[in-house]
């Protein structure tokens, strides 16, 4: 196993890359409806969409309520989403990881 600091550097770099993408690239993302929404419009079932239960959420539609600047609002919402996803992911995967790793004697016994 490579040392832990190298993995930590990789994760931090990856998060910074993700931040850069939502700050710098998302403003020029294509605003048109995506594939499913386009099909729904063209085929005539777009009207069956109902209001979203969290449509009034402070982060609804990738904007932070209270931040009026479009670009900043979207970028900030992206950073919040990235951090929330990372945190929820860490929690889920910490619960879903292989057991017994922290026990050196057992880990040694399992090596082959």
């Amino acid at each position: 196993m490579r040392n832990a600091s190298s993995t930590r550097l990789f994760v931090i770099s990856g998060l910074l890359l993700a931040f850069s993408l939502v700050l710098l690239v998302s403003p020029v993302a294509n605003p048109n409806p995506d594939g499913l929404n386009r099909v729904a419009i063209d085929e005539g079932f777009a009207g069956t969409e109902t209001d979203h239960g969290l449509g009034d959420s402070p982060l609804a539609d990738y904007a932070v309520s209270g931040v009026d600047h479009d670009w900043l609002s979207k970028g900030l919402s992206g950073i919040i989403g990235i951090l929330a996803t990372f945190a929820l992911g860490l929690a889920l995967f910490a619960l879903s990881k292989k057991r017994g790793e922290s026990n050196p004697a057992r880990a040694k016994g399992q090596r082959n």
Partner: protein, 230 residues
């Protein structure tokens, strides 16, 4: 690709939610067989990265955009079951952004997380079998698997729509429209996935689950267990 509330009726959505919940339970169990301490932050990062890239819609045709689904990418980086969990986490967080319906969450978890991660990974393995045993094959197979995963996702949406669509329409027309537009989106998915896997292979080849058999780590290769996981 996110299905909003209302497209699919309540019964079908509830059924999908039950299947999705079962899928998550199985995925947690399967993941706990192989995900070690070192990979936990990598899996978290993979989920976070998919969230970010899903915000970057690219143009695919007149008046239409597409974005990464990311299930195939996540599966190749951290394994198919952990990959499905990565996209599931993304979908749960996106509910707070009003992206993807709440009653439709189970439908979306099936389409966007499980179909793309498990189906994409199966195709990845199949393509790798016919390509040379080398690093560049991993990149090519990633692109092909990712492209195909988007079409598979569209097909599963079509099945859900055929079962529980809230409006009576000519299904053949919906089928053709879904498959054709998602074939185009699949091309974008393939390029982004191949580029990302190629990048990680260059920087930290030992972190690419789908390349474990190449012995890319600095340690003595101990990759014989990688195959039995799926």
């Amino acid at each position: 690709m996110h299905i909003p509330d209302g497209f699919i009726n309540a019964g079908t959505s509830a059924g999908a939610a039950l299947i999705a919940a079962g899928g998550v339970t199985v995925a947690v169990k399967k993941t706990s067989r192989y995900l070690d301490d070192k990979q936990v932050p990598i899996a978290g990062l993979t989920a976070a990265f998919v969230f970010a890239v899903q915000m970057l819609n690219f143009p695919v045709a007149a008046g239409t955009s597409g974005h990464l689904l990311g299930g195939a990418l996540a599966a190749i980086l951290v394994g198919p079951w952990a990959g499905a969990l990565c996209v599931t986490v993304v979908l749960v967080v996106q509910a707070f952004f009003a992206d993807g319906g709440i009653t439709a969450l189970g439908l979306n978890v099936l389409d966007m997380a499980f179909v793309t991660a498990l189906g994409g990974y199966a195709i990845f393995l199949g393509v790798r079998k016919v390509l040379p045993h080398e690093r560049s094959s991993v990149v090519v197979a990633s692109g092909i698997a990712a492209a195909a995963s988007v079409v598979m996702s569209a097909l599963v949406f079509f099945i859900q729509f055929a079962i529980g669509g809230n409006v009576d329409l000519a299904l053949g027309s919906v089928f053709t429209a879904m498959v054709s537009v998602h074939t185009l989106i699949g091309l974008g998915e393939g390029v982004i996935t191949a580029a990302t896997v190629g990048l990680v292979l260059n920087v930290r080849p030992d972190l690419v689950y789908g390349a474990r058999d190449l012995g890319t780590t600095l340690q003595i290769p101990q990759t014989s267990t990688a195959e039995g996981v799926l």
